[in-house]
């Protein structure tokens, strides 16, 4: 035996292979009949054991006011805070002096889904969404423009509240 090799002391007298095998087989056999944990995904998207968390931060959604216009006032806080620099905002101003976004685009590929844009937004306009089915056929479809952000219908994230860490 080479130096430094740890030799395991194995139990001799009470160890058994045959009985252990039979025990193991009884266990696996009993598992045949147990309820299965598999969720059949496309048909079944949540179960009583698992749902998507309300704090989930997925692809964005822009909320709109009663007239269907984006709530965004083009203050520029979200592109300022965005750590991934994925928000492109060009502000515009109408005849009443109200600011609105001329161009508002989010590159979902660059986005790191930190949710800072939602936290920083003074108008509660931009939100990260509780949503994860984002497949597209081409890469340029992942730059969401304002129209598309407003058209999203999925629920928005509640984010994490430091004063209520468990979400109660």
């Amino acid at each position: 035996m080479a130096i430094g090799i740890k030799v395991m002391k194995r139990p001799g007298g009470q160890a058994s292979y045959l009985r252990a095998t039979l025990k193991g087989m009884a266990l696996t056999f009993s598992h045949l009949w147990r309820p299965k944990v598999t969720m059949q995904y496309p048909e079944e998207k949540s179960s009583k054991d698992w749902t998507l968390s309300p704090r989930w931060r997925g692809t964005h959604r822009m909320l709109t006011d009663e007239q269907g216009r984006a709530k965004c006032v083009a203050c520029g806080l979200c592109p300022q805070i965005c750590p991934a620099n994925c928000i492109k905002l060009v502000p515009g101003e109408d005849e009443h002096g109200n600011r609105y976004p001329l161009i508002y685009e989010i590159d979902e590929f660059r986005c790191v889904f930190c949710g800072y844009c939602q936290e920083v937004c003074p108008e509660e306009a931009i939100h990260v969404g509780v949503h994860y089915e984002n497949a597209e056929y081409s890469r340029d479809r992942f730059v969401y423009d304002l129209e598309r952000l407003c058209a999203q219908t999925h629920p928005v994230s509640t984010l994490w509240d430091p004063s209520d860490p468990k979400g109660e």
Partner: protein
């Protein structure tokens, strides 16, 4: 002669088709049963309950790219899948799977070839299967594949001896190596699993090793050898190894059924094994045979998803230090017992004879399970002996 040729060709085609379809379904059964044992559902998307999954797999394997390693020995590399595939299917030829089928031209025996040397033929072709694996490992020119091939040869040769020894007892009782005679002897009274329980136990362990199934799947050993001998194979050639493995399982299960569980015999009745033959009897006995084979196939899958793999030295120690001496001792004891019962007391094989031997088996099982199994069977690793 024409009748013989035509009926043989039909039987070959039918048996081949049934085995191939059975193997395909077996891959699905394996995946679904293992999933159930792990509290999952398994493949259930393709067709009802996933029944078309094997077809999808087959299609995928046919369409995948065939790869050929640059340094491989081309001839042997291409030959190896066939070498493991063919013997796996050939062995089924001598197994009787139902009572003879009466036709207007005469009775058709429900066995592809009722060879007088049936059992010896199976042993011979069973050992041929190792060539495919060894050649695959060698021809791949890959050190892991070669190790897999080496392990396969060592393992199969080691366990073949124990397997042959454990079946000697069956042949002693049956008095014949023709498998239809072995079945007939069991159909008359009691299945050989009762008078020869321990032989059956040794046989099933050796059969697991012979078919390279867990806990003896060292030639593949994904974790250490990255699938061993078939690492370099792709597409249909890879598939052929799988078909070979599963056909081997089918044949081993059929062999267990034939040697120990009365073949096509329906238990507790005698009307099924006495002439006149009728198509109904053929269908019923065929169903019984299939049921038994499916049962053993389930045991194969069941054990695979229960036990971890042996270490290589444990495998060799079990084969040579435990299985072989046990099988030898068992044959000696059983042969003596049969000699006493048959020659000295003048009994012939029947219920009384079988029960006497069964009692002997129970007596022998006590030291086996309560003394030998107390850490003496597989714990005999090198480390412990030095310690």
């Amino acid at each position: 002669m024409t009748f013989f040729l035509v009926s043989s060709v039909i039987k070959i085609i039918v048996v081949f088709t049934v085995i191939m379809v059975g193997v395909a379904l077996l891959t699905l059964a394996e995946r679904r049963i293992c999933a159930w044992m792990q509290d999952r559902l398994g493949p259930n998307r393709v067709g009802p309950q996933g029944l078309l999954q094997p077809a999808a797999d087959g299609l995928k394997n046919l369409l995948k790219e065939e790869t050929l390693p640059a340094q491989a020995d081309k001839v042997l590399f291409l030959l190896a899948p066939a070498m493991s595939f063919v013997p796996a299917l050939l062995t089924f030829a001598v197994i009787p799977f139902a009572t003879p089928l009466p036709t207007p031209w005469g009775d058709v025996e429900m066995v592809v070839a009722n060879l007088p040397v049936g059992f010896l033929y199976i042993l011979a072709f069973g050992s041929l299967g190792v060539y495919g694996i060894v050649l695959a490992g060698w021809a791949s020119n890959n050190k892991y594949s070669l190790l897999g091939g080496l392990r396969a040869s060592a393992q199969m040769i080691s366990y073949e001896i124990a397997m042959g020894m454990s079946t000697v007892a069956v042949l002693l009782l049956a008095g014949n190596v023709r498998l239809s005679e072995v079945v007939a002897r069991q159909a008359q009274s009691i299945w050989f699993v009762f008078p020869l329980s321990l032989a059956y136990f040794l046989f099933i362990v050796a059969a697991f090793a012979e078919t390279n199934r867990l806990p003896f799947d060292l030639p593949e050993a994904e974790g250490e050898l990255i699938a061993g001998y078939h690492t370099e194979y792709s597409a249909m050639k890879f598939s052929m190894f799988y078909i070979a493995e599963y056909s081997n399982m089918v044949t081993a299960s059929a062999l267990m059924t034939t040697l120990f569980f009365g073949g096509w015999d329906i238990p507790f009745t005698h009307w099924d094994n006495t002439p006149p033959w009728s198509p109904l009897k053929t269908v019923l006995t065929l169903g019984m045979f299939s049921l038994k084979v499916i049962g053993f196939l389930f045991v194969y899958i069941w054990v695979r998803w229960t036990l971890p793999r042996f270490r290589y030295d444990q495998l060799m120690a079990l084969g040579w230090k435990v299985m072989l001496p046990l099988a030898l001792a068992y044959v000696t004891v059983i042969a003596t017992a049969i000699w006493i019962l048959h020659e000295q007391l003048g009994w012939t094989y029947g219920t009384r004879f079988a029960l006497a031997l069964f009692g002997l088996n129970v007596l022998l099982a006590i030291p086996l399970f309560f003394v030998l199994d107390r850490g003496r069977i597989v714990a005999g690793s090198v480390a412990e002996e030095r310690a």
